[in-house]
Symmetry: C2
DNA sequence: CGGTATCCACGACGATACTG
DNA sequence: CAGTATCGTCGTGGATACCG
């Protein structure tokens, strides 16, 4: 459990992963999708996920630089976990409202 | 997702919940099961889980005081999530070792 | 565009001591 | 036994400014 929690640790990380679950995204796309997080934190999160081997970066050699982030095979393993987080959240919410 | 993450947020929380999944436990039993967390943090976690409506406390009127913590119905909803955290952790570990 | 470099505030966590 | 009270430390996240 600690391993999985560490993988998705940090604010915004799950939301970032959810975006990447839908396909490769550039730095700017990710930033646009989550307007309330700063460049620094976005870069931090991406670095963390890369160190964990969960995402991969492809850099286009040109100016201005373009980059593309995508899930690795290992990163795909997180999919059922994110799904379960969503389901559990819904159940808790429903239970709380009654 | 944020709702579920908030519910299980905080260091030791998932380990605490895992203990409680096995049945009701007293403050002392929980402390013994997790020797490396302080009384204060244990009390903090239990208070958090109670505020979230995930666990319940039964207090025995006697001296010295005895208390018993147990999962509520809402708390039971976390079971599949903890299971998934465990599974995902295993997969990540396996994938990393290869 | 896609980042780094600094700096700061705040809250979480932990250690220790004490109480009904 | 089952906590509460207090205090210090440290890391995380956020703001801002700058660079290739």
């Amino acid at each position: 459990m600690e391993i999985a929690l560490h993988a998705i640790s940090g604010r915004w990380t799950t939301l970032l992963l959810r975006d990447l679950m839908h396909g490769p995204r550039s730095f700017g796309q990710l930033r646009t999708g989550l307007p309330s997080l700063s460049d620094k934190v976005l870069a931090d999160r991406l670095a963390h996920l890369r160190r964990e081997g969960l995402i991969d970066r492809q850099e286009q050699k040109a100016f201005p630089t373009r980059s593309t982030y995508s899930l690795t095979r290992a990163g795909e393993h997180l999919r059922p976990l994110l799904t379960q987080l969503y389901r559990t959240g819904q159940q808790l919410q429903r239970h709380a409202s009654r």
